[in-house]
């Protein structure tokens, strides 16, 4: 019901609608029934990952000749929303593949695409996207990982942490200071690092509050020997390359937050729609009605913001600020409304096994990863202060 109206509002193309519907059915049948168990066991959802690839839900914006869905950013956002409506960790896995696949597709050589992109979109391999370091979180300029040229290619040193898929990845796209131009602090390069390279190691798997099926760990590179063709894209332009894909990443996380929020609303509605006496009193309660109304209003606003940012990006118009606004708004709303949903549901909503209990934990990290809310505010404000967006 919620989504049909949304479809009409968003006037989707056939391809966009087909992908969205495919993701919705997949979320309902293949993801949602396993969400609770995945949350408890915190295991990598390998079966779902493989099925997602077979369904054509990996690499939404990547050309078909590499195994992608050859669609646009809006389709990607719709898929992320639907997958997250099943379970946020699965959407985040789809988002991670999208980021890595986009970089490989846009920057990779033919050989790199054959070696990394093709098997990735078949879910035959797993990837990581390694930016964050212990001392370089929001502040990427503080990056310490360094690559030095040697006779056999590059020697990589440094450590990355909170790396999604860290415990299991077959290869990682690692941002490190480039040997190209040492003076410029933005001279960084992206290196493709395979887990079999000598000097590559992983930290222990992190134990997290939510999105527990997402596997996180540190990655360590100690005199890690990389071949000469390990650089992805232009040597020295890594930071710029990363920032461009992060724009789509933020739209993806906004959509993930939205899908999670929609799940909370659907559960509150289901809970209060029951016909017995106790619940009909609850359905008539204005406290509950206000909560539902506020949640639905924020949901629609988030949907519009996400669709707008995605359409701009698809038209080739810079949407950096709009993507940040959508991500900021949707993630803040997700935390707020999942919290209210637990509160009006009482102890049931606080008990494990209840979807709302998980959603409140899952929601919080949307304000943190892919740029914290604080970083989004800095991006938005700077853009306005430079006159980049008409207020």
């Amino acid at each position: 019901m919620l989504s049909t109206e949304a479809e009409a509002c968003r006037s989707l193309t056939d391809q966009q609608r087909t992908l969205m519907q495919k993701a919705r059915i997949f979320a309902r049948k293949e993801i949602a029934p396993h969400a609770q168990e995945l949350d408890w066991t915190a295991k990598f959802a390998n079966t779902i990952y493989k099925k997602m690839a077979r369904q054509g839900l990996l690499g939404i914006t990547v050309p078909a000749k590499w195994g992608g869905a050859e669609s646009d950013t809006l389709s990607y956002a719709l898929v992320m929303e639907e997958l997250s409506n099943g379970y946020a960790s699965i959407a985040d896995l789809c988002g991670l593949v999208e980021l890595c696949a986009t970089l490989l597709n846009e920057l990779g050589t033919e050989a790199q695409k054959q070696r990394y992109l093709v098997p990735l979109l078949k879910a035959q391999t797993t990837c990581s996207f390694a930016l964050t370091e212990p001392d370089a979180g929001s502040d990427l300029a503080a990056l310490a990982a360094t690559a030095e040229k040697n006779s056999r290619g590059f020697i990589l040193n440094g450590s990355k942490h909170f790396i999604h898929n860290g415990p299991i990845c077959d290869f990682a796209l690692v941002l490190a200071r480039s040997p190209a131009a040492k003076a410029d602090d933005r001279a960084m390069s992206i290196f493709i690092v395979e887990s079999s390279y000598p000097g590559f190691s992983r930290g222990v798997k992190e134990n997290k509050m939510g999105q527990r099926a997402s596997q996180l760990s540190s990655l360590y590179f100690k005199d890690c020997q990389l071949p000469p063709d390990a650089v992805l894209g232009i040597d020295g332009d890594g930071f710029k390359h990363m920032m461009v894909v992060l724009e789509r990443g933020r739209i993806g996380i906004a959509a993930l937050s939205l899908g999670l929020m929609r799940s909370a609303l659907e559960n509150v509605l289901k809970d209060t729609a029951d016909k017995d006496r106790a619940n009909s009193a609850k359905a008539d309660s204005q406290t509950v009605q206000w909560a539902i109304a506020n949640m639905a209003t924020d949901m629609y606003a988030a949907q519009a913001m996400i669709a707008q940012a995605a359409r701009l990006k698809d038209q080739g118009i810079p949407a950096n600020t709009q993507a940040s606004m959508a991500k900021l708004f949707a993630s803040e709303a997700a935390v707020k409304h999942t919290g209210i949903a637990v509160q009006i549901t009482g102890i049931q909503g606080y008990t494990q096994g209840n979807v709302l209990e998980r959603l409140y934990r899952d929601a919080k990290v949307t304000q943190i990863y892919e740029g914290t809310s604080e970083v989004q505010r800095i991006i938005i404000a700077r853009s306005l202060q430079r006159g980049g967006l008409t207020p």
Partner: protein, 376 residues
Amino acid sequence: MEFQLTKIQKMTRRAMREFVRQEVVPLAQALDETSEFPSANYQQAFGLGIMDMALPESMGGLGEDFLGFIIALDEFAYGNAALAHSISVTEAALHLLYQYGTQKQQQRFIARLHAGEILAALPTELSDVDKRSVGSLRAEFDGNGYRLNGSLLQVAHAPIADIAIVFAATANTTPSAFIVDRQMTGFKATRHDALMGMRSFPMGRLQLNDVHVTHDDLLGAEGNGGAIYGELLRRSETAIGAIAVGISQAALEEAVRHCKARVQFGKPLAKMQATQNKIADMAAGVEAARLLVYQAAFYLGQRSQLTTQTAIAKIIASDQAVAATQEAVQIHGGYGYMKDYTVERLYRDAVFTQIYPTTNATQRSNIAQATYRTIR
């Protein structure tokens, strides 16, 4: 109005703070992971006289007022909110037994509760007590006593308690309070699935199937359950308020330590205005909540006629705890989402204070009704 804590209350705070940081804080994370009852700390708290601080000396207590207890609870919640909640449940049971129990009941139970030998369970889903429907528990007369039937979903300590204080009405009378014993035939308690937070606090369902109780098991006068329940509810609200304050205090301290140490963009987060605004709001919120909770405890200790003071303190303190823990995690960034960091637990624990003993939505409805009666 007197804003000074007494010398003894200040001493209590200092002693508890030291004890909690040495003995409670180091165990809290593991207890959260295993969901085990914090037996060691609970026994230590008894040893320190926390649960019976507000009991008269003749009952083995310290003869302090309720505020002294609330100050101690604030400090315990700083270290482990689930432990603090167990302490407050036992304190409330002791208080009810002292206040309403017969000499025989007091002899039978207080010393054992006091020694930590037995645990009491208390239900909280009795908001319709005025309307005579007490949860789903019903009492029926049967010659030499009553038969109790029904089940209560939300009973503190139910899975491990030896006795439970329950409230039940008959068809023709207002509710009465009863002390039921785990040994009685028909007493069944089950533990809830794990909760999001407060994980080492045992909550459960209490089912009474034709449990026979006699007049000796009545707590207080027959038909006086409503008043006793009201007293329990006000005590629980104040205690949960204090627990929310302790959680907020811990969130504030963790946030401050992290933002001083964490350097991004060439300076500590603490130097950034956005962080300062967050810290200021957290500090202001903790201060406001603590004052309200302490004031409610002070009045309750004075046995003043109270209407909404405890409920107001509880909703302000619990909403504040949720806001403070959300910000504390945010200030920690990715670290705050990891179970190695205290704020991850605080974030989950805080929500409990918004829904217990009743949800803040119910509390607000009650506060509004009382406010309508006052303002004409």
